[in-house]
Symmetry: C2
Subunit: 486 residues, 2 copies
């Protein structure tokens, strides 16, 4: 089924909008007639947070309606299978050290549907580093040693590589004084340690974190980086293992669809895709939701999974708290570009590259072998060097070729920065944001419960955090609805 | 509330059977009259697997009955709060790298109810190693280096410290040839590497694994150790972090009771404690369960969470498959002793000890500070050196004092090896068992679904594995019951 989202380019067809997706829902709605009220819960958004909440609530017997602006499930996380080969448009890797994701993979018995993304045994087995000193290839063990050294120095705020400062990543406040570090930007932190970094290490530390934040050195929170570092066991090896190693052989939409199907099988799920919400009015008795198409829906509770950067497009009545409103106004900083490329032959299957030389794409690696026996490369570029591939395919190809020489057969991408329902990629905070606003963002507002990976406690910004949040919202709503019936 | 389980000793009261437990359920049953049939599901056992299955099934609206032989929830995992201080009778530590446990801790918002168990900053900060060469104290960093070196050599079957042999611990078969290692006992593996081990390392490698298996060098599977090693990120540091670091400040029964309370709040849960099951008869139409008290219960489905070593006490009709029956006959090897001790003063708060000199207790460490400002020490001893503290308190005190000198004020323990509903501690396999029987143990039998940490895929033997299994059973039963109603 073809989603209207994402772009595909090859030489014969040129640029085409829309990609196949097994998470495209057809027909777009299962509503019958004017069946728009009487819902126990209305879930705004069908990303992982919304899917999890809707699944848990329908399993518990509650009449639940999903309203989604897109034509597919998954939100900022989805995959497109092209010629049976999956390209991950946003979100890719999962791990058994991501507890909420793993609980679901285990529950759906999908653990044998994962495969290893990086590979160091096929083709030319090397890494390319490009800095202002030029471009050079190196062995992967040399690359690993450089990245490890750079990241350790970056994280070493406590003579223990962050282990003392943030021992418990699922409880950031466990060492209260660490919150002081949230005032630092990446730029601030680099200034603190630049005396100890080689030019290669400086380039790597900067580009690695920007390929994490999708922001600039000035608007990237060092504290948020430290959180990612702690989540991955305070090590570069853990980072690789937990964040960029295992992915779904059939694409992650094969995972997301399980939640949707399970909810549907309860007979309690109504849904309407292609239906953008414009306002949410809580009368205290029930909640009225208006959509851009002019439809009105009513329910007792709302789970709002709209991303932080999009919340400003929705009118809430009564108005949100000043702190929530302020956090929404500030938003997050991630304007990452993610571009997939099919490159002729298998030379680059084991390649990786990092470019710190003002190239719009800064980080890339071989991610798989396509059905045509070519290399699939995935590349990232932060906002500082922002790329809009759909406007300039040639610039995109040049940005890829600046990483290393390649013969590009195909491009696949989704421009998250310009996506009206995302207005950015995964959440990444600016300095001071988390310690100031996280608790407010997590709070409910009357009968409206907010659930999004953007304000998860653990794997914030990840699929895992979205499931964490959907789980939380569903449980809190169940508790509240159950009290009402007693 | 006082459970009849566990033992307490101090000088004034002597040995007393029975300990307070917040998981003791009173009254023992909520059955009204002869309400013994018509259940959608009957769950045998109220450990974490049974609690999870019952919670998920009642949340999904199914009439569920729990039958439990004990007077409390938790099975082989429970805590006793004595003077507000928790002693963990079986199962203690949890981690965010245990995905099923963490999903629940996160869901119940208990992440700020954890505290750190080991401590290296109070009292005499040292470790005591006792071998046939005598007893000596050493700094913790020396102890850590010795254990790390010993375990690395032990795990190094692949020149990669086990990372290549078992990269994916939640999918043991990911590298198929690794299953060959399941023929090795600990004794076999130690013979392979003894040329490279110092006497200290040999003593540590052996006692560490036996304090994991509760067995003997001959009946302990090396492959099962490798699985634990892989689960903890192929490192000693990971082992400490994920297996013996964070515990519930209020005792783990404060966690288990949440599952029970949530199930109860649905209004769909019936339960009868003090009710040992003797037979399960599946007519194909429904299932009849007989208990030792002469009661008969009926339901459409059964979740059997009875531990492997106890399954032989229950009669199944039709009989279980030959492979399941054979696995039950073999059982697992863990006959671990676990003893808590309150030792006068704080000298030992940061102490740890390992004794490889035929002492019935081989491994111990300071685990907390009691309300009387004494040290709480937890000690373990494998079956080879088996201890029965309730029969000989003085031998138990000597075994503790052989670890290091201490002034014992109190003992608290549960003898799992002699517990009729456990017949051993946590699961640990003998050589060849997992590769031969795991799949059979996981299979259902007509309308009977087997769920126990003993045959979990991931954190087998842990609370996490029990939740994994309860989750699996509940989902499979929901799928089956839903198909019937369509």
């Amino acid at each position: 089924m073809l989603s209207r989202e994402g772009y595909h380019w090859n030489a014969t067809e040129g640029l085409v909008k829309g990609l196949p997706c097994i998470g495209k829902i057809e027909p777009a709605s299962n509503l019958q007639g004017e069946n728009r009220s009487g819902y126990d819960v209305v879930v705004l958004g069908a990303g992982y947070a919304g899917l999890t909440a809707a699944r848990d609530l329908t399993l518990a017997g509650y009449r639940t309606l999903i309203l989604e602006a897109r034509d597919r499930i998954g939100g900022r996380s989805w995959s497109s299978n092209i010629g049976s080969y999956p390209y991950e448009m946003g979100g890719t890797w999962v791990s058994w050290r991501q507890p909420h994701v793993w609980r679901e993979i285990s529950r759906y018995e999908m653990r044998d549907q994962l495969e290893v993304s990086p590979n160091q045994s096929t083709g030319k087995n090397f890494s390319t580093l490009t800095t202002k000193y030029g471009q050079r290839d190196m062995a992967h063990h040399e690359e690993d040693a450089l990245i490890q050294s750079a990241l350790r120095k970056l994280a070493n705020v406590d003579d223990a590589e962050g282990k003392n400062a943030m021992p418990f990543p699922h409880n950031e406040g466990f060492v209260p004084e660490t919150s002081k570090l949230d005032s630092l930007s990446l730029s601030d932190r680099l200034k603190q340690i630049e005396h100890s970094l080689s030019p290669d290490e400086l380039a790597i530390a900067k580009e690695w974190v920007l390929a994490t934040s999708g922001g600039t050195p000035e608007n990237t929170s060092f504290y948020e980086f430290l959180h990612w570092w702690a989540l991955s066991g305070h090590s570069y090896q853990g980072w690789v293992e937990d964040m960029i190693k295992y992915k779904f052989r059939g694409g992650q939409s094969s995972f997301a669809i399980r939640f949707f199907q399970e909810a549907l099988a309860t007979g309690k799920l109504a849904y309407a895709f292609d239906n953008r919400v414009t306002s949410v009015v809580d009368s205290g008795k029930d909640i009225t939701i208006q959509t851009a198409s002019g439809q009105t829906f009513r329910g007792a509770k709302v789970v709002c999974t709209i991303p932080l950067n999009v919340l400003h497009t929705i009118s809430f009545s009564p108005p949100l708290s000043p702190a929530k409103a302020q956090a929404i106004k500030i938003g997050h900083v991630n304007k990452m570009s993610k571009v997939h490329c099919e490159s002729r032959g298998l030379d680059l299957r084991s390649w990786s590259g990092l470019n710190s030389s003002c190239n719009p794409l800064t980080f890339a690696f071989g991610d798989g072998i396509t059905p045509d026996n070519n290399t699939h490369i995935v590349a990232f570029g932060p906002s500082e060097k922002q790329l809009h591939p759909e406007r300039d395919v040639e610039a995109t190809k040049r940005a890829l070729q600046n990483l290393t020489s390649m013969d590009i057969k195909r491009l696949v991408f989704h421009n998250w920065a310009e996506d009206e329902f995302a207005q950015g990629a995964w959440f990444f905070s600016g300095p001071g944001f988390i310690t100031k606003y996280l608790q407010d963002l997590r709070g409910s507002h009357g009968n409206i419960y907010f659930a999004n990976s953007d304000w998860a406690v653990g794997w914030r910004s990840f699929i895992d955090g979205a499931i964490e949040e959907g789980t939380r919202a569903a449980l809190n709503i169940q508790r509240s609805l159950r009290q009402k019936t007693i």
